[in-house]
Amino acid sequence: MGAAAGTISQMVERAVAKAEKLNGKLNAFITIDGAGALARAKELEGQEGVMREHGALFGKIIAVKDNIAVKGLRCTASSRTLENYVAPYTATVIERLLERGAIVIGKTNMDEFAAGGGGTSGHFGPVRNPYCLERVPGGSSSGSAVAVAAGIVDFAIGTDTAGSIRAPAAFCGLCGFRPTWGAASRHGLLDLGMSMDTPCPIARGPDDLIAAFEAMRGRDDRDQSSLDERRTSVGSRPVLGVPEEFFQGVDKEVEEIVRKAIDGLGMETKDVSIPSSKYGVPVYYLTVFAEFSSAMQKYDGIRYGISEGDIYKTRRAAFGAEVKRRVLLGTYITLKEHSSRWVAAAARVRGILAREVDAVFAKGADFLVGPTMPFVPWIHGKEITDPLQNYLADVLTVQANLCGIPAGSVPAGDIRGLPVGLQVHGPRGHDDAVLGLMKLAYGKVGSRAQANLKLDGRLLSAP
């Protein structure tokens, strides 16, 4: 990509060829829409005069996570349930990207219904980390991250409910941004935890990230919870809050790299504490189980998706283990006799956590910084088999989702070739400020860290 690219059609052809060539190794795409993308490229070439001026994303080649609806393309959420489901409409955020001249070349692989953090639980098989094929790329927006990291697309769109854009950004050495809940429309995003889901851009650098978010953001009449909110009250000399809790249980090498990256920003820092963040993981999972079990009710095999006769057989056959676990637990905790004990309690603690975070922002910290993931990408097949342990991988990222605040991950360095991410949190509505800080961090630390990363040699020799 870049300047030497030639015509839009040529760029698209090259991207599609690369996606197809690498997919055997990376498994980043569920659907590659070569014909559709080329037709779109030709259409854009016809409108070149107009679009060059108005299309901020003119000719940008993008990939979309397979839990976001794009009309006419399969939308499987990496589940057997929706194996053959073709979306009859396009998600608002994708519509907005297309309006500004972007070209979708395919739909990317992910954890089934985004319920996972490794990119390994999907019906279409595990996604591979392009820096080390034996390792996971992070999830659940795994394919989106990998498509960017492998240089197939300019940027990609994913979703983030507990860190699903930040985790793969950290594991793939990219910039990933999760906006304030409501800052970008969720119409067209398949549900996981509706009160935490957000559509997100992921790119190599902050410029594409900012351009993509600028297109995606804003009120949408088809999603009542979407807002036009732009807050810009961050001072000229912002202070970085460093919560002690963000380093608890974090791998020592990861901590070292992230602390060095924070120092490298050259900004004033302040030690802060968010005591309730230790409840983040249980509160998150209770909330997501409840919301997810409700959202999954619709997959009964009647209107779309696979059907195995009756509803019970259909659901038994259609869902993977993690999805079933979440649906069953969610159904259990929302029963009348349990609801006040689990769901209501989770909502209460979520409120307390949000107030603690607000207080930290009110008392002089403009941002919170720390590591994105507590460790480096793990090896495929060696994932933690205890689901409870597995859920702890989200410990540093869930807080932003529970509080609805903007957050992002920027490359901070690497441990023996495996990427480490620096995470940034900002107050609700301060999306531009968070992106601003990410841009600064990318300039001072991230771009160099990224440049040091080497793609797995086997990708270069791919047949």
């Binding site: 839990n67 976001i68 609806a69 939308c75 959420a77 929706l82 489901y85 979306a87 009859p88 409409y89 998600a91 429309s185 969720r186 119409h187 067209g188 995003l189 398949l190 549900d191 935890g193 509706m194 009160s195 009449d221 088809r222 999603d223 009542q224 919870s225 409840a290 919301e291 409700s294 009710q297 619709k298 009964d300 009647i302 209107r303 779309y304 509803i311 159904t331 929302t334 029963l335 009348k336 609801s339 769901v343």
Partner: protein
């Protein structure tokens, strides 16, 4: 008599489709459709990823209006949130129904306590015999009015529903098509378990269902059988209730707040505005009409039960008591008959501005009262004015027919009614009516039937001699 014996407790849950242009959570048009699955979109068919587009503000307003008219108060703080009620059914594409917290509670209407009024989405239609689903209805806004079990006879329920339907008509807040209002009825007799009759599709059938259920429960007791807590449905054709399932435990719908819907805050100002715009209640209207126009209490009440007729009456503004009474009679007899007929055919079109109708009704009422016009002709004229699609009154001849023209018509009619004429002559006096009918029809009902009879008798009697 044993404790509780003979006591009946009946409670109602009335689901009325609200009159709005679009559905509750999407932009699809609401209301009946020509063919199945035409008024649908990704939202109301629950396509993966589709989000509710926000609560239809008009639906919310209509529900609040209903709540206020049945004496409810808007909850403190005015906060209305939506909950998800989970159950699996083919007509419910999300497999949960979105239902609001009360928009009004603690009302009192026609002797019954109103527990609450809330807003919810209608599911689609599932034809169990054909195993087919029509999702066009899905997402139509409904107001649910829940009463306490305060009724102790089917007659009380009937009166309540009659008054409620008048109020709903005044509000113009609900759909009037058949099947757009559905009622769940809870009946317990003699202190027994609660039986729920679901989905009764008209106010009239509620009365029948209760009557039947009371007899059924009585018979069961007489045979020494226990009344179980159960749910049944009312079979319209057989006019009986049929058990659907027995309840061993309370249903668990796993209610929880819908994360996709931002709760609505009804401000005191908003509520005050809605309150100020509410129509006069039927009772208040009856009293006012009686006082202002010196008509009988009976007619005043009857007029108040028909919003359109009361409006026409007020548009006429009869000058004195005698005229007023005549006008009321004309409206309540002839006009009402036409309105009911047209309503049944779905052809009633009452214009918004009634001033243009005042002159006609004033004259027609007087003409009918004084025998200058037949009721039948007057009804035809009313029909011509209010039938949807008709161009107006011009295509009905109104000139009154007299003297020679009547005679000619009588002679003409007699040619085809020889049998009837002979019968009459043989002393079967009632036979004359069929001939009068023929004559009236031929004259377009523009003659005074008394005059026709006089002429006819004269001719027939002269023949006899």
């Amino acid at each position: 008599m044993k404790a509780g014996e003979g006591r009946m407790m009946i409670g109602l849950e009335i689901h009325a489709q609200l009159l709005t242009a679009s559905k509750l959570f999407c932009f699809c048009p609401a209301g009946p459709t020509q063919s199945p699955n035409t008024s649908i979109c990704p939202v109301c068919t629950a396509q993966p990823g589709a989000k509710p587009a926000g609560t239809n503000a008009r639906a919310m307003e209509q529900a609040v209006r209903i709540a206020l008219m049945v004496g409810c108060t808007v909850p403190e703080g005015g906060r209305v949130a939506f909950l998800r009620k989970h159950y699996f059914y083919p007509d419910l594409p999300n497999n949960y129904q979105r239902t609001s917290t009360p928009v009004g509670a603690d009302g009192l209407f026609c002797g019954a306590r109103i527990r609450e009024v809330h807003l919810e989405e209608d599911p689609g239609r599932y034809d169990i015999r054909k195993d087919k689903v029509d999702l066009s209805r899905c997402g139509t806004p409904l107001a649910e009015i829940v009463t306490d079990p305060d009724f102790s006879t089917p007659e009380e329920v009937r009166l309540f529903l009659k008054k409620l339907s008048t109020v709903l008509d005044y509000l113009g807040a609900t759909r009037m098509e058949a099947g757009s209002t559905r009622i769940d009825v809870n009946v317990s007799t003699d202190g027994g378990r609660k039986v729920e009759v679901k989905n009764v599709n008209s106010f009239h059938n509620v009365y029948r269902a209760i009557k039947y259920e009371v007899i059924r429960q009585k018979n069961m007791r007489r045979r020494g059988l226990e009344i179980l807590q159960e749910t049944c449905h009312f079979d319209e054709l057989q006019k009986i209730t049929i058990s659907s399932r027995q309840k061993e435990s309370a249903d668990d719908y796993r209610y929880f707040p819908d994360p996709d819907i931002v709760p609505i805050e009804l401000s005191p100002r908003e509520v005050a505005r809605i309150c100020a715009d509410l129509p006069e209640s039927p009772d208040a209207k009856a009293q006012r009409l009686q006082g202002a126009f010196s008509i009988s209490a009976k007619n005043a009440r009857a007029l108040s039960e028909h919003k359109d007729l009361a409006a026409l009456f007020e548009a006429v503004r009869p000058r004195d008591g005698k005229r007023a009474e005549a006008c009321a009679e004309f409206l309540l007899n002839d006009t009402l008959r036409v309105f009911n007929y047209l309503k049944k055919k779905g052809l009633l079109a009452v214009p918004e501005k009634l001033e243009y109708e005042a002159e006609f009704f004033s004259q027609a009422a007087e003409a009918v009262a004084s025998g200058k016009m037949t009721g039948k002709l007057a009804r035809r004229l009313v029909q011509a004015r209010f039938e949807a699609g008709r161009t107006g009154p011009a295509d009905v001849e109104t000139r009154q027919v007299e003297g020679a023209e009547i005679e000619r018509a009588v002679h003409e009619a007699l040619k085809g009614q020889k049998g009837a004429a002979e019968d009459y002559c043989r002393g079967k006096k009632a036979a004359i009516h069929s001939i009068v009918g023929e004559v009236m029809k031929a004259l377009g009902y523009r003659a005074d039937p008394k005059k026709v009879i006089t002429v006819l008798e004269k001719i027939l009697n002269s023949k006899q001699r």
